[in-house]
Amino acid sequence: MNILEVKQLKTYFFTRRGIVKAVDDVSFDLQKGEVLCLVGESGSGKTVSALSILGLIDLPGRIMGGEVIFDGKDLRQYTPRQLRNIRGKRIAMIFQDPKESLNPVFTIGVQIMEPMKIHLKLSDKETKEKATSLLERVGIPKERFFSYPHELSGGMNQRAMIAMALACDPEILIADEPTSALDVTTQALFLEVLMDLKKERGMSMIFITHDLGIVAEIADRVVVMYAGRVMEKAEVTQIFENPRHPYTIGLLNSLPNFTKKKKLMPIPGQIPSLIDLRGCVFHTRCRFAKEICAKVILQEATVDEGHLSACLFHDSQEIVKASKEVGV
């Protein structure tokens, strides 16, 4: 069952140099209890997609079109007040840099209690008790309730962020690269806590990352994004075994642990400017690109049931062959 459906979302930034189409026609859905991973290089529009779901886009950005169906209703039609009742209560979000994302002048205790105070009708005592038990649940000693963010390590701060996000028992948690500011061991510990909590509470989760290792570990399904568009969507096994988009193949190729042969092949070039894109957004860097790729945009084509690719030639022999070579 779909708990969240994003349909043809468009979020543009109106900058001095032109319109940046940070998210353009992005669609995906999240099923109850699953972990959906958004992957893609830096600047591919993952964060902007996530923020758009909650209506958190600031000027100069604007959501120009699309629907965000949650609980059968379109969040985009909500008034600001209705939307605030969703944020932090039914859909919570945690961010990349925990130190920057916590307010330096309030103790983490205060910050964890804050969403409960506005969303739940609890007494002060209950609020405080709940916050303390949450802290302990994420593995922070309860004396730390009165600590300021700068007094805690990055990993602790990120766990405090989780405690804050889970304060009102949300149905969906959106985690935007929660591990990239942490070192490897802290990362592993953090993921463990996160996944435990997710199971315990039956939450659904959108997990944003560039780390395909983490994807392999936790994802049920994967959405691969590039330059503001969805390149490929599939179950996690399909993505690793049978990728059908040159960009996905490129990503896998640039990773040491996933190539059968030892030859590493980073994708050449850089993500293009998101102003004035024509044709397939990936054609400038695609080694299989044909003339037509510069002219035509393919919304999505079905490879298999539940496996979609935005490549015109996802069935061509070249790509199937490359896919076999890189697939695990």
Binding site: L56, R84, R87, M93, F95, S101, N103, P104, P115, I118
Partner: protein, 329 residues
């Protein structure tokens, strides 16, 4: 945490000690300036007496004054006397009013205090609000208007503004008296009315400055990630701005407001008192200048410096209290 408190005390002690050194420097520089002055402080006074023919024997008066000022002693003893007198709260004798300077000051400081206090309240309340407002409305017409107005507020010479206010509201419209009525009890309603123009005169420049500081501090913080977190929690925009952004934006602003006291406020208050005839310390010093009454001028300058010193100390301490990240180094 207990460790924090201990180092806080230590920190304050260190700042206090440091302030004492500065205070000593202030006294010393003042002394040097006084000694560098051409002639003796009593010269003009004596000349006036001689002209009026009141004193029969000028030489006697001269000797008496020299003895009172200790001018007959060697320099290092004069210095020692000067410091020890000040430490005993003995600020000398006002020649023009025939009162001890300390008595004069204790009678008049309250007027300066009232003016500065009311102006600060006025400036902080309005300046901070429009600063936050224009940051939230960045790049709108309202924001532009605030920016231009604060530039004008900073640039308008406050003594001229005072005169213009008198010209418009007192002379032309007759809404206020042109002169400050000293017979009214302080902080009474009538007295507050009399303070209106002076407070606008002194406060508008301060207000403009504060609104600029606040605006830029608020803009800095509006861009921070924690604002996004606060919004993602579902907080209403009011709470996001007035709690999360405001607390952070006020940290640097409070320090700046305190440090502004000496530069902007004291000079401004001095002139405002003169224009409106408010009998505060500035006005006294002004009168003393034209009566060649050294002791009063020196005392007011010293008081200004000492109060500044106290404000600097308070600014330091306030900052460490308000910003949990500050370590006491």
């Amino acid at each position: 945490m207990p460790g924090k408190k201990a180092s806080m005390g230590e920190y304050i002690a260190r700042r206090l000690f440091y302030s004492l050194i500065i205070a000593w420097g202030i006294l010393t520089i003042t002394f040097i300036l006084l000694r560098l002055a051409p002639g003796s402080p009593a010269d003009n006074y004596l000349a006036n007496i001689a002209a009026s023919g009141r004193a029969r024997d000028i030489a006697q008066v001269q000797a008496a004054i020299d003895a009172r000022y200790g001018l007959d002693k060697p320099l290092y003893l004069q210095y020692a006397d000067y410091i020890s007198n000040l430490l005993h709260g003995n600020l000398g004798w006002s020649l023009s009013t025939s009162l001890p300077v300390s008595e004069l000051l204790s009678k008049h400081w309250i007027y300066s205090f009232e003016l500065i206090f009311l102006s600060t309240v006025f400036a902080v309340l309005i300046g901070v609000s429009i600063g936050i407002y224009s940051a939230v409305k960045q790049r709108t017409k309202a924001d532009y208007a605030v920016t231009v107005f604060s530039f004008m507020g900073i640039s308008i010479p406050n003594f001229w503004l005072g005169i213009m206010l008198i010209l418009i509201f007192s002379v032309k419209l007759g809404l206020f008296k042109t002169y400050y009525d000293t017979s009214l009890p302080l902080f009474s309603l009538e007295n507050l009315k009399a303070m209106t123009l002076p407070v606008i005169t002194l406060g508008s420049g301060m207000l403009a400055g504060y609104s600029r500081y606040v605006r830029s501090a608020a803009l800095d913080n509006l861009r921070k990630d924690f604002v996004r977190t606060a919004r993602a929690k579902g907080l209403p925009e009011r709470t996001v701005i007035l709690k999360h952004v405001f607390r952070n934006a006020m940290l640097p602003v409070i320090t700046i407001i305190m440090l502004d006291m000496s530069g902007v406020v004291f000079g401004g208050a001095y002139l405002t008192e003169i224009i409106f005839g408010i009998p505060g310390l500035g006005r006294i010093s002004f009168n003393a200048i034209f009566a060649d009454d050294y002791a009063v001028v020196v005392a007011v300058t010293l008081i200004g410096a000492v109060v500044t010193l106290i404000f600097n100390l308070l600014a330091d301490i306030a900052y460490t209290y308000l910003d949990p990240r500050v370590r006491y180094v």
